[in-house]
């Protein structure tokens, strides 16, 4: 077999997978998005831009997603980073594994079950009741964007913690000693060595969380009380309730384009940040 032939042979399974699992479904979505809703729901072939013209009807869902996905990513990062840092740099080696497992444990349970716990915590008998005890009355948390943000951070934290942890764990601790030796205080060492060296982990974690958040629907449904609506929720409704597959496909196609756009922009930014450093591949 020629090398070219061998390459094709080796790539065939991945190629087939790519075609069946990604290209064809996307093509179907694209074709559907130019069609019309059937009388009893579903899809009727047509060629019309009507579905796209109707997109503004989902403006709020797009707006919520485009605000809360980046906000959720950022909030996850702000909480995950210190945690990952502690695990990788500070935690006693003997406890590291145990602590890591503790970070993963929630993943053994469905996000649905875990989010239900937050319904109670954020509901009137949870945190607001505690706040009332110290004189802060009538705080409403559940079914607000804030509740959704909490759910997002809680649900996606491990996804953010892990890449950063792996990155920090592999960071040569002698670099920190070198920095200290050269006169940098711990804080300055963090800013000038640890943080820049952990950029790849941050980039990976943010990308993972952001992409998943763009398609999120469960957490807003559970903790947003149906009032904080993501594009994902709009899609669930369009496909399962109003059964308008054509419009649903148009919304889905738009979401894919938005996601591709933002991820491309993000990668570009990261690549520019990492342009001069081949020590660690940023992506």
């Amino acid at each position: 077999m020629t090398e070219r032939g061998r390459n094709i042979f080796l790539l065939a399974p991945a190629g087939a997978w790519f075609l069946v699992m990604l290209v064809i479904p996307l093509a179907v979505v694209l074709i559907f998005s130019f069609g019309e809703r059937g009388p009893a729901g579903g899809y009727v072939p047509a060629f019309t831009l009507e579905q796209y013209a109707n997109l503004p009807a989902r403006w709020a869902a797009f707006k919520n997603t485009l605000i809360l996905a980046p906000a959720g990513t950022l909030a996850s990062l702000l909480i995950a980073y210190p945690l990952a840092y502690y695990l990788a740099v500070r935690a006693d080696a003997r406890w590291k594994t145990v602590l890591l497992v503790l970070v993963i444990v929630p993943f053994w349970t469905s996000i649905l079950i875990r989010s239900y716990a937050w319904i109670f915590l954020l509901g009137g008998r949870g945190i607001p009741a505690l706040l009332a005890m110290i004189g802060i009355e009538d705080v409403r948390l559940i079914n607000t964007p804030f509740a959704v943000l909490i759910g997002i951070v809680y649900g996606y934290l491990p996804l953010m913690v892990f890449p950063i942890f792996v990155n920090l764990d592999r960071l040569d601790k002698r670099l920190l000693e070198a920095s200290s030796d050269l006169g940098a205080s711990p804080w300055r060492t963090f800013l000038q060595v640890t943080l820049p060296m952990s950029l790849p982990g941050i980039a990976t974690g943010c990308l993972l969380v952001f992409i998943l958040l763009m398609g999120e629907f469960l957490i807003p449904a559970i903790l947003g009380g149906g009032k904080v609506f993501f594009v994902g929720n709009a899609l669930v409704d369009l496909f399962l309730q109003s059964r308008n597959w054509a419009f649903g496909s148009a919304v889905a196609a738009t979401l894919v384009v938005l996601m591709l756009g933002s991820v491309t922009a993000y990668m570009r930014l990261i690549r520019r940040l990492g342009a001069q450093r081949e020590d660690v591949a940023l992506m």
């Binding site: 040569d172 000693e177 050269l182 450093r277 660690v280």
Partner: protein
Amino acid sequence: MYRTGKRSQIMSEAGYTPPSATATASPIAELRGVTKRFGEVLAADDLNLSIRAGEFLSFLGPSGCGKTTALRMLAGFETPTSGEVRLDGAVVNTLEPYRRPVNMVFQHYALFPHLTVAQNIGYGLRQRRPKPPRAEIDRKVRSALEIVRLDGFEGRRIWEMSGGQQQRVALARAIVNEPKLLLLDEPMAALDRKLRKEMQIELQNIQRRLGITFILVTHDQEEALSMSDRICIMRDGRIVQTGAPRELYDQPRNRYVAGFVGTSNFFDGAVTGLDGGTARVAIRDGIVLAGRALAPVAAGQAVSVSIRPEQIRLVRAATGGETGWPVSILNRIFLGEHTEYLVKHESLGEFMVLTPRQAELSDGPFNAGEQLTAVWDAGSALVLDKD
């Protein structure tokens, strides 16, 4: 950035005086009764050492002897369990590394991969408060690069540099800060032999030029001997002996030092008699060797008699006045300037003899199997503690 070196620039075999050896000079750094425990492990045991300003001092010993721990306590990465670490007279036991006027060249350099060569070197200067002007930093970085002969490499990335170049960057990154102490932790361990030789010479030159106190940690006796003003021999967390290379070579405190600094032949026995500074030591089969006892010994004490291979001569016929030992030649290795013979005496066993080429030309060469007489001056044999 250059301090005027107070030390002699010439290091001659004969008339060499360690720098700042004058009694009045106060030590730049000191270890006083310093002990460090890591749990059960005693890494440093009652270290006492005065480091003189401008000297090149080496900690020499096998791995695990505590030399790196000693260095790390000077750098501030470890805090002594007891005792005092002093810098410029002040106790600095718990002073953080970033507050010490001390810099280190790490074993694997620990260069920042996300920074350029110039940024690496300027790192220490940028941490200063108030921050020096950019132009000053640039100037100092350039000057440091010149010193390590890497001019023009400012914008390079660390991973674009060879091992030897990285080593120079690490050195430049440390010296640019004009530290009171420059600590070098096995800096040449990762270099190949040829590069190591070059770097040794260069390090020495830089040290003399800058007058910075260098403290080197190494397990390589040749490196320590060739570069240091003084060597601190360590073993099992303790300092065994501190002294100039020559002093350690000529007057080792015990058999361990004699074996670590250069090579020597050792004959174990017990002291049978003392005569001033000379001790007689019974080896076996009634053979008694005489040697100088540098430290007091008592009759009956188990000791080693140490004779350096180059202090033994091989002759075909013994002349009077010298003790001669009949030996047969087992092996001969030609080393250029010297020839190394492995010889065997019936009772003393096998030992090494190093013969200069000059002697070979007149007497030799000797061949394996040949029966000869080994002779040495009574004064060249040393009676040493067995430990």
